[in-house]
Amino acid sequence: MTETIPLTIKSAPGKAATIGGGVQAMAHEILSHLERLHETGETGAIDLKSLPMAPDEFHGIKKMLGQGELDLTVHMDGPTRIRETAFPGVWWVQHKGENDRILAEYIEIARFPDFLSAQPDHIAEAVRHLRDRLEEQSQGAA
């Protein structure tokens, strides 16, 4: 039982130590979120836009997190890109508006990115819609 289970990753995580303190701190924050997700299922997120980061730090974090299996782009008033990092459960989410302007960019720690899930109020409405449809049908049948 000593053999390690290999993670399926596209690019190996970079070495954070060579980048600097800011990246280290970020890595620790992600780790604590990830532990919580693992133990309690609680999700978390870290906003990247509000952190005053130097470009090299930003790239340092990107490099450290690496690239996982998924890399989706959704076009919707500009591209929204959702990447799974080399650490499953850690997602890199970037919303761009028209003209490639970044609206929001954050790291999400969750089983699945919230943006892609159906929201409760959406679902509530879907329940209503589907019920209406069925009623229409049954009325039509009658």
Partner: protein, 362 residues
Amino acid sequence: MSIDNRKERPTIGQIMDENGVGRRRFLKYCAGITALMAMPPGMTAAFAQQLRAARRPTIIYMPFQECTGCLESLTRSFAPSLESLMFETISLDYNHTLQAAAGDAAEEARHEAMEEAWGEYILICDGSIPTKMDGIYGTSAGHSFTDQLHEAAEGAAAIVAVGVCASFGGVGAAYPNPTGAVGVSEIIKDKPIINVPGCPPIPEVMTGTLVSFLASGVPDLDNNLRPKAFFGNTIHDRCYRRRFYDRGLFAESFDDEGARNGWCLYKLGCRGPTTYNACATIKWNGGTSWPVEAGHGCLGCSEPEFWDQGGFYEPVTSKLFNDTGQIAAGAAAGVAVGAAAAVAANRRKKKLSGTADKETSS
């Protein structure tokens, strides 16, 4: 006016559905807004839900002593996209400057709009209000600005003071303030007031404030009544040049090596350390750039007494001693009093030591 003539208005969610705006498009828009407001990304979905449930607001936009710069800024805030739709949704029911109607027709339209949403509309004020000589420095439709403000404020759910003038008096209140100009909060005391200062304010901050008010009411405010979400940090705290400050690297003039290297502009009068605003993160012109990035220090336009903080090119810590005469007078007086004290002490010594000296001389 009373609440009897109020009209039921659709929710924002309904408007979005009518315009065929997908839910994820809306969610994405909200992600942008929450990011602007530095809300945790996990809050986005909840925020979107609240915003969808909010009713389409009525907005009354009242210009006073203003230059239309803030309105220019506001109307330029949106690229033709979902944001513009949001803007239309919260569009102005009354605005002097933008609407086609003029004169009595305009006044009538305003009163109608106010009546239809009495007690629920948002009043946006732009410009300072002159108070000297019963406010005759600013009148419109035969009423002074103060009277108009009082009337419009009465039926408002909240007031948003847009720009440094409406917030704190701004340029109108600059020394010597001939018209007795003040900000809205000096006159209206019984309504929630949100200040969105700046000259002009960042457009995203204006819409962000409005949207967050729609979703969850009056946001957390600082002691200058500014939303903490946008005005919680200084420019200096969030400045990308901060690390040069920390390393003691400063531009000494606008054309020196330091300026070319993009070093800290503190010594050139940057007001970053004492200015609370979101320029460093949200930036201007759709995130293109902002003053410090363009090589000029912050002027501190979102702060009270913006115009009276000393020269723009004097550092924050400056505006110090300029009266050398006073120092010289102090020095001269010190020497004189010191000499007098010594003379008095020597006289006292002679008196006190009279016996002792006699003792030794005997």
